[in-house]
């Protein structure tokens, strides 16, 4: 999967690039408007991660506009400043698949990217398989060892997030932000994550599924089948 990262902050871009490379993507990088325009004119990407505010005479929204004329199937994630609701609305109107507000967590970017790529390139038939688990994202169906499991929307969301970020330590805050959105930063107490994880695990174990959820020193969880 080939990703174009358009971000004017070099340090931020570097850490995003590093992360995406570690997830197995091919990542190219543009730091300003003209070089981004040049890249989308010359090459084809599976998904763009584009910051709205860019130096060099145009915004990320302009790039989105031009991209959709040339490669309408390319997925796009808009990265905007928080509280810039107009940017988000315009971005989604112009055909962006999703938006992230700065600052965001890398696992969040990962989960959004995977969802877009799944939707855009694998159609309805794609299933996510992990050990005993099988998930059909289009039909919101989960099964373990062939047995369907009935999950609440939040448990399902949580499971998908775990699957997108498998083998990765995920702090409780990040999970809470994924489940409830940016506004969750108003709250101080994320104990509810504990109950959701507990319920999810109980439902999976009830079907004889291997226990993939590990608690990590009280700071978060890791979804993995590797022995530590």
């Amino acid at each position: 999967m080939k990703i174009l990262l358009i971000e004017d902050e070099p340090a931020l871009a570097a850490s995003m690039q590093e992360f995406l490379l570690s997830e197995g993507y091919v990542v190219e990088y543009a730091a300003d408007f003209p070089s981004a325009e040049e890249k989308i004119a010359l090459y084809e990407y599976d998904c763009l991660v584009v910051d709205v505010n860019l130096p060099g005479g145009g915004t990320g929204l302009d790039i989105l506009h031009d991209l959709k004329k040339q490669h309408p199937t390319t997925g796009v994630i808009i990265v905007s400043a928080r509280n810039a609701m107009e940017d988000r609305i315009t971005g989604l109107d112009l055909g962006a698949d999703d938006y992230l507000t700065k600052p965001f967590h890398l696992p969040e970017l990962n989960a959004r990217l995977k969802a877009i790529l799944r939707r855009r390139y694998f159609g309805g038939g794609m299933t996510i398989e992990f050990g005993d688990l099988k998930v059909n994202p289009d039909r919101h169906e989960v099964s373990a060892l062939g047995q369907p499991i009935d999950l609440t929307p939040k448990e399902y969301d949580l499971l998908l997030y775990f699957l997108a970020n498998k083998h990765r330590v995920l702090r409780r805050e990040i999970i809470a932000e994924h489940l409830l959105g940016d506004d969750v930063d108003q709250m101080d107490d994320f104990n509810f994550i504990y109950s959701h994880v507990k319920n999810l695990r109980k439902k999976l174990l009830a079907q004889g599924c291997t226990d993939y959820i590990r608690m990590v020193y009280g700071i978060g969880y890791k979804f993995t089948d590797r022995k530590s």
């Binding site: 931020l12 850490s15 509280n83 967590h105 930063d185």
Partner: protein, 422 residues
């Protein structure tokens, strides 16, 4: 505090009153003196006429003796040398039975071979009356003059000071955050012209400084975002290192939490500045009820966690407002009501066309409720809040003409937004 007009008028009174009194007294005495002089002259004239008459006719002229004016002659006793004198005296007025003042002139004449002493009496009571009348008139005149002067002074002052009050009015309407410069009317009066220009310059400078400070806050917040994001990313990466010990992991978690707190503080300050700058121009029809219900569903996990009992009485209310601000206002008030609630407590929400009121069980606040909408102010019962939530709610209310009322009564904390101006 006294008005300038009162002050000038009292000064005017202090100076004018003694002058008027002195002038009045002086005039009275001058009049008296001249009247007296006039009487004396008249008597001396009469004497000359009488002497001339006596020389030709050897008898006194026939004069109708009135109460006011009398002439009589008495033979001069032998051996007494003739004298003439002018003096004041008092005689009884038989009509009014009063002693009245007279001017008396005595002089000798030779008549029918004898020496006579002639006495001319002229009442001066009229003069006293005239004096009194004049004094009264003068007093009335002075008072009238005084009144007219005061009135003229007052109305002139009012007219002259009119531009000043206009400026005061404009200054009262002047808002620092307003992007339009202060414009004061041109005045043909030098002093006001200077005042206006000076105030305009001052306002421009203050507005510019204010803009700069705001811009600085915005830029600083913006610049902080990137390093904070990098810190967060790097912690995420670092946490994947399997060789980390439990203590190291927990410390990383603490660093991440602090970075998150800073990022949040930064976001919130930025939001506050943007609200102050009116950067949320977009207005949409906001339907409060579904918006509120959406937020309540969003908070479900926290209700369950704290085992809160939710009571709602929501009526449909719509108004034009920025959607993000409406949502922020709701989120801030609702999350406060959840965060500061007691385990197993209640949360009561009422929405009507007049107000939105949110009440929750809470510990008594350690500072007065009104102060809590200040920035970085928090009650010590809260654990981790930034102390900006209510400040933002307050700012949003102000921008939309709502009134935010905070209060604590009978173990219930209530924040209510009154949609008064809608």
């Amino acid at each position: 505090m006294r008005k300038l007009l009162q002050r000038t008028q009292s000064l005017f009174l202090q100076i004018a009153a003694p002058v008027f009194v002195l002038a009045g007294v002086a005039m009275f005495f001058a009049l008296e003196w001249s009247l007296q002089h006039f009487d004396e002259e008249k008597l001396l004239h009469s004497r000359q006429e009488i002497e001339t008459y006596v020389r030709f006719h050897d008898t006194l002229p026939v004069i109708f003796n009135s109460i006011d004016h009398r002439l009589y002659a008495i033979p001069q006793p032998e051996g007494q040398s003739p004298v003439s004198s002018l003096s004041d005296t008092s005689l009884l007025n038989p009509l009014e039975n009063e002693i009245e003042p007279f001017l008396q002139l005595t002089f000798p004449v030779k008549m029918r071979g004898k020496n006579w002493q002639v006495t001319l009496l002229q009442s001066s009571v009229e003069h006293e009356d005239i004096g009194a009348t004049v004094a009264g008139l003068l007093t009335i005149l002075f008072l009238l003059l005084f009144g007219v002067l005061l009135w003229v002074n007052r109305s002139v002052s009012r007219r002259v000071w009119q531009p000043f009050f206009q400026v005061l009015d404009r200054m009262r309407q002047f808002r620092l955050a307003d992007p339009t410069p202060l414009r004061l009317p041109d005045s043909s009066v030098t002093e006001f012209h200077e005042l206006h220009r000076t105030l305009e310059e001052l306002a421009e400078k203050v507005q510019k400084d204010f803009r700069l400070v705001k811009q600085f806050t915005e830029n600083a917040s913006h610049e902080l975002q990137t390093p904070l994001a990098i810190i967060q990313h790097k912690i995420d990466v670092l946490l994947q290192d399997e060789s980390l010990s439990e203590v190291q992991m927990q410390q990383l978690d603490l660093i991440a939490q602090s970075a998150r707190r800073m990022a949040r503080l930064n976001q919130t300050l930025l939001l506050l500045v943007k609200i102050e700058n009116d950067q949320f121009a977009l207005r949409e029809r906001i339907d409060w009820k579904p918006l509120l219900e959406k937020r309540l569903r969003w908070l479900e996990d926290f209700f369950l966690e704290k085992q809160l009992v939710l009571r709602t009485d929501l009526r449909p209310v719509t108004m034009d407002m920025n959607p993000l601000l409406a949502e922020t206002l709701l989120t801030n008030l609702l999350t406060n009501a959840v965060k500061h609630n007691l385990p197993g407590g209640t949360l009561t929400i009422r929405l009507s066309s007049n107000e939105l009121s949110i009440s929750n069980t809470a510990l008594p606040p350690t500072i007065s409720p009104e102060k809590l909408s200040g920035r970085f102010v928090r009650s010590t019962t809260s654990t981790d809040g930034l102390g900006l939530g209510l400040a933002i709610a307050q700012e949003i209310c102000e921008k939309n003409g709502f009134r935010l009322k905070l209060g604590f009564e009978h173990g219930l904390w209530t924040s209510s937004v009154q949609f008064t101006s809608i």
